[in-house]
Point group: C2
Chain length 352, copies 2
Amino acid sequence: MAHLDLSADVVSLTQQLVDIESVSHHEQEIADAVEAALTSLPHLTVTRRGHTIVARTELGLGERVVVAGHLDTVPLNDNLPSRLEDGVLHGLGSCDMKGGDAVMLKLAADITSPNRDLTFIFYEAEEVDSVHNGLRKLTESDPDLLQADFAILMEPSNASIEAGCQGTMRVDVRTTGERSHSARSWKGVNAIHLAGPVLGRLNDYVARQPEIDGLAFHEGLNATGIRGGVAGNVIPDECVVEVNFRFAPDRSEADAEAFVRDFFDGYDVTVTDMAAGAMPGLDRPAAKAFVEAVGGEVAPKFGWTDVAQFTRLGVPAVNFGPGDPMFAHKQDEHVPTEHIERCERILKEWLA
Amino acid sequence: MAHLDLSADVVSLTQQLVDIESVSHHEQEIADAVEAALTSLPHLTVTRRGHTIVARTELGLGERVVVAGHLDTVPLNDNLPSRLEDGVLHGLGSCDMKGGDAVMLKLAADITSPNRDLTFIFYEAEEVDSVHNGLRKLTESDPDLLQADFAILMEPSNASIEAGCQGTMRVDVRTTGERSHSARSWKGVNAIHLAGPVLGRLNDYVARQPEIDGLAFHEGLNATGIRGGVAGNVIPDECVVEVNFRFAPDRSEADAEAFVRDFFDGYDVTVTDMAAGAMPGLDRPAAKAFVEAVGGEVAPKFGWTDVAQFTRLGVPAVNFGPGDPMFAHKQDEHVPTEHIERCERILKEWLA
C-alpha cells in the first residue's frame, strides 16, 4: 500500500499524491493511503464511506469550517509520473486537485488546536457523472458530517478566491437512420451523416458571457463524445453526440434544459446528467470574513464545483486552491509550488 | 455440437444453418457442423483451414467448377431465430448467405457422379476486414485448392447471375484538436466539432454510376463508424470518422485511393482496408457457357464479393445465389424459398 509522509513539506506531499494514480472509479489506493495517514492523527475522528474519507476535530468550538477536495483525476494522458522543475510541479492531478489535497493533509496534521472546529473531506468521483460524486453521496448518507458555518473547496483557483460556479448538464443528441449494406447505401439512411448538422450547430454556437455580482461568467456548449457504427459494411442506424452544457449560475436547471432543447430543436435529446450552478453569495457574513482574511480580487468560477452541494445545504462556500484552472484536464497540467505554499500559509493563519 | 441433416430439403437445411448463430469471428460451431456433414460423404475429400472447409471430388474429369459461400453473418439485430412464413424464410443470414450454403450442401450430398469435378468452399470472415477473409487466406495457404475452370459464388443475386463486383476501401478520417476542461472550452480545440465539415462533405457526395460491359454500376461513400471523446468534462482532442468507399470495377485500387484522398483534401486520411473490384468478364468462354445454361438477364454486382479473389487467380467467376441482396444486412433480412429451390435445380441440372 502507498504510504503518505505527513511530515514532508506540502510540495513533496503533493508529489506523493500525484504519483498515486487515481483516475475516477479507481480511487481505492489513494483513499487507503489518505485514510491511514489521517487515522494516525489522534486529534481527529475519521469516517469512511466508499472511497470518501472524512476527518473532524470535535472540540465543541463555536464555529465549524469544512475544507474539501476530491481525490480522483481525469484519464491518463501520458502525464505521469510527476516532475518537479523550476518551482512547478507537472503531472496528472497536480493542478486538479492534489495540491489542494496536500494542503488539507498538512492542515489536518499540523493544526492540532484550531480556532474553529475543522472538517476535512477527501472524496471520490468528482470528474464523472454527478451520480457517482462522493460528496453528493455524503449529503444523502451523512448530511450531519457536512454541517458547517462555512466551506472552502480547494479546487484550483490560482490560490485566490473564486466565487459561485457554473452549472453543468449533459445530453445525448441522437439521430436515427436505417441500416443497409454499405454496398447498396442508397437503400438505407445513414445516421452518422444525419449528425452532420448537429455538429454544424455546435460550430455556430456563440457563448453567452453574463456578469453576475460583478463577476463575468462564460458559458460553453460542446460535444464531449460521439459514437455510431454497426460494422464496416453496414450503413449505421444510430449516432449519438454527447453534449456538455456549462451554464452561468443565473440559469436554473430548467432554464438550462429549455435552452439546450431549443438549440437542438428537431433532434432527439435525452438529459443524462445535471448539476445546478451556485450564485457567488459574496454577501453572506462567513464568505465576507474569509474574503477579507485572504485579501485580493475575487474571480468567477467557470467550472462546476461542489460549492453547489454546500449551497444546496445552506452552507456558504467558496473555491480557494492552488493551480491555474486553465491547465486542469490538459496534458501539460501543472501547479506552481508557490500556490500550494500560499494556500497552506493563509489557511494556517486563518485557522490556527 | 449442432448437427446438419443433409437428407432434409434445401429450405429446411437453410433454416438449420440460419439457426446456428455465426457472426464473423464466431464461426466455430457452424464450421464444425459443416465439416462433420461433409466428412460423412465418402465421395468427397475434406480439408479444413481455421473455420474454412473445402470438399472436393477427385474424379480426374476434364473440367473443374468451384462453388463457394461464406459461413459468417453481420452482427445480430434482434433477428434470430429464423421464421418460415408464406414461402419466405426470415432471419439473420437467411439472405446473406445461408440459402446459398444450403444449396452447396445439397449439391455436395446429392451429386455423387458429377459431369465436372467439383470443389465446395465454405469459408469464414467475409463480413469483416479482408485480412480475416477465409477465402483470401486460402489463396495464400493453399492456392491449388482454388484452381478451377470456372467459379460460382453463391452470394445473394436473386437466383440469377450478377457479374463483376465493386471494390471496397476503408479509411479513417481523423481530426485533431487540443484537450481542455469543458468548463473552459475556449482554451481547447474540439476535435469532434472539427469533424462537422467531414460529415458535411459526405452529405454533399453525389454517387458516380458508370456503365461497364452494358451493366450499370453504382458507387457509394459512407461513414460506417465515428468515435471521439475522452471524458464527459474534457474537450476531445481526436475524432475518427470511419469511411467506406464502394467503387465501380473500372477504378483501380490506386484510382480509388486518389479519389478519396482528394475528396477529404485537408484532412488526415489513413487507408485501413482495400479490396479491388472485378470486371464483369462475361466474354470468357466458361462464363458464357454458364450464362447460357441459366438463361435470363445478367445484372451488375454492387457489393464486393470474392469473385475478385478468383479474378486475381485467373479463374472466371460470377455471383449466382438465392436472395435479394437489397435485404442483406438489414433487420428484416429474408430469402424467398423459391430462390433457394431454383438455384438448387439449375445447378443440379448443369453439374449432374
